[in-house]
Amino acid sequence: MIEASHLYKTFRVRAPKQPNGGIRSFLRLDSIDKEAVRDVSFSINKGEFTGFIGPNGAGKSTTIKMLSGILHPTSGEVRLGGINPHRKRKEAARSLGVLFGQRSQLWWDLPLKDSFEVLGAMYRMEERQRHKRVAELNDLLHLGEFLDTPVRKLSLGQRMRGDLAAALLHEPSILILDEPTIGLDASAKRDIRSLLRSINKELGTTIMLTTHDMDDIEQLCSRVIVITEGSLHYDGPLEGLRSKIGMPALIEVTYRTLEQAEKAWTHVQSSSSADGKQLQERTITVECSLEQYRFMDILRELEAFGELEDARMREADFDEAVHLLYPDLKQIKA
């Protein structure tokens, strides 16, 4: 459904030759070619739910924009359901729904239902067909309460639901979502996720989303594509990525006495399962891989040195983990 073959995107960035070039740097601007995306290829099948992740500035948005026909690749080709969105943008747009979490596509000053009316006409939907579709989306997204409110007065969660409904209105077979859960609270995220899951399962819509929220990936995606510094670094099932990264978790336990903590500390220095990171008074922090060991097993191992007063676990941030996977990543300038 979504095919990208050897996509490259080079931006020409103008930059003065020397920082202190004085008047000459005003007049003589040299341009630098910045490769934002380098040889990206993948093929996503019908009905797949793919997560597209990578740190900021890795080329995610650029790739998404090339896939949706907004940006022309410097070289390479995109096909959406067999149609090249750069040669036949309008045709490709019919089967494509896009949501930018950061930027609403709705008519800002008009009620949501007016946006639906305009969009319905743009995609040449019959009025009856549109009403039916809005009713369906209403069941899934509970839009009824704010269908008549101007979009500018909606809360972020409501707006995102509205935007999602707008992207789905014309029953696209491909859905591209750029950070659909950004800035939402837990319950709004849950709603959006359950909706996405059901349209993927029930309608067979092919979905690709970018996110910085690991839970989105875990709960939704059967496949993950990782992009860093403009190139693909991983493409496969989530489990594979996990085992590649090892998904380190930090476990912090507090003992009743200082003595117990010190004993445990000596133990973890030589333990194979948990790696001692820090000893602070009665609290020790260990790092372990949850791929290889279960949390409960680690706790039992630590409990052998005395009763625990408190235990906490923090999973490493996914973006952080991706960086761990590629330690030679240079810091990318904004």
């Binding site: 931006f11 500035g57 948005s61 924009k65 949706s68 026909g69 907004i70 940006l71 022309h72 750069h86 943008r89 309008k90 045709e91 747009a93 019919r94 494509l96 896009v98 930018f100 950061q102 930027r103 596509q105 008519w107 800002w108 000053d109 008009l110 007016d114 009316e117 305009v118 006409a121 743009m122 995609y123 101007p150 750029d178």
Partner: protein, 270 residues
Amino acid sequence: MMIRDVKDMVKMYKLLIRFSIRSRMQYRFNFWTGSFIAAFIAFMEFALLAVILSRFGTIQGWSIAESAYLYSVLTLSKSIYRTFASDVHHLEQYLVSGNLDGLLLRPLPVLLVLMTQNVSIRFGELLLGFGMLAYSLGILAGKGQIELWSAIPLTLLISLNGALLLFGIALATAATGFWLTRISMLQNLTEDATHTAIRYPLTIFPGWLKGVLTIGLPVAFVNYMPALYIVRGEAGPWILALSAAASAAVVGAGALLWRTGMSRYQSTGS
């Protein structure tokens, strides 16, 4: 097939305009004061010209009524162009903010969607334009210089043609934004300055500037050239055909530039 496409586009255009106006009407006060102020400014500018004219009687042989004709055709052309293609003039905002992305996602020509954003109907300026036209044609007809039955419909056509020409120049200028991003200064030159220039009969300018205004940025075909036939009788009706050709050429060049520019669109980071 072609005709159906055009019909479709017109239908879509009307619908988008309707929603755009509905949007604008959410801020009625702003809408009406904006229209009023624009008309007031246009009127003050003409009043200033009228004062100068009444002091000297004529500009290079052009009477007040004749100058008013130039001015009214310009005002009408400009307000028609700005009503029907308002945000083409504001493409820069879309380029700087990256909002053009959203327009590119729709199965419609980007230009069509852009033309229907933030529509403002320029009631005030249209009213002023028609008022001045009535004044000018009234006096000229009184002197027997023109025949009203032909001058009125021709002038309306001339204004539409002028709107098309101004639109073409605006489109070409906007399209350079795909390379330059910031284009407001260029617009000052190609739109604002040229519009100011053609309030006056072309004969007051030095030769090189006449050349620029007839060939480079052929705004003289908006009002001056047609006026040579309609009010001055110094040229034959062929000059109207030439004006139409000038519009077609400018719109064609604008469209070409636009299409090339679109493929260079760079969007913004998010």
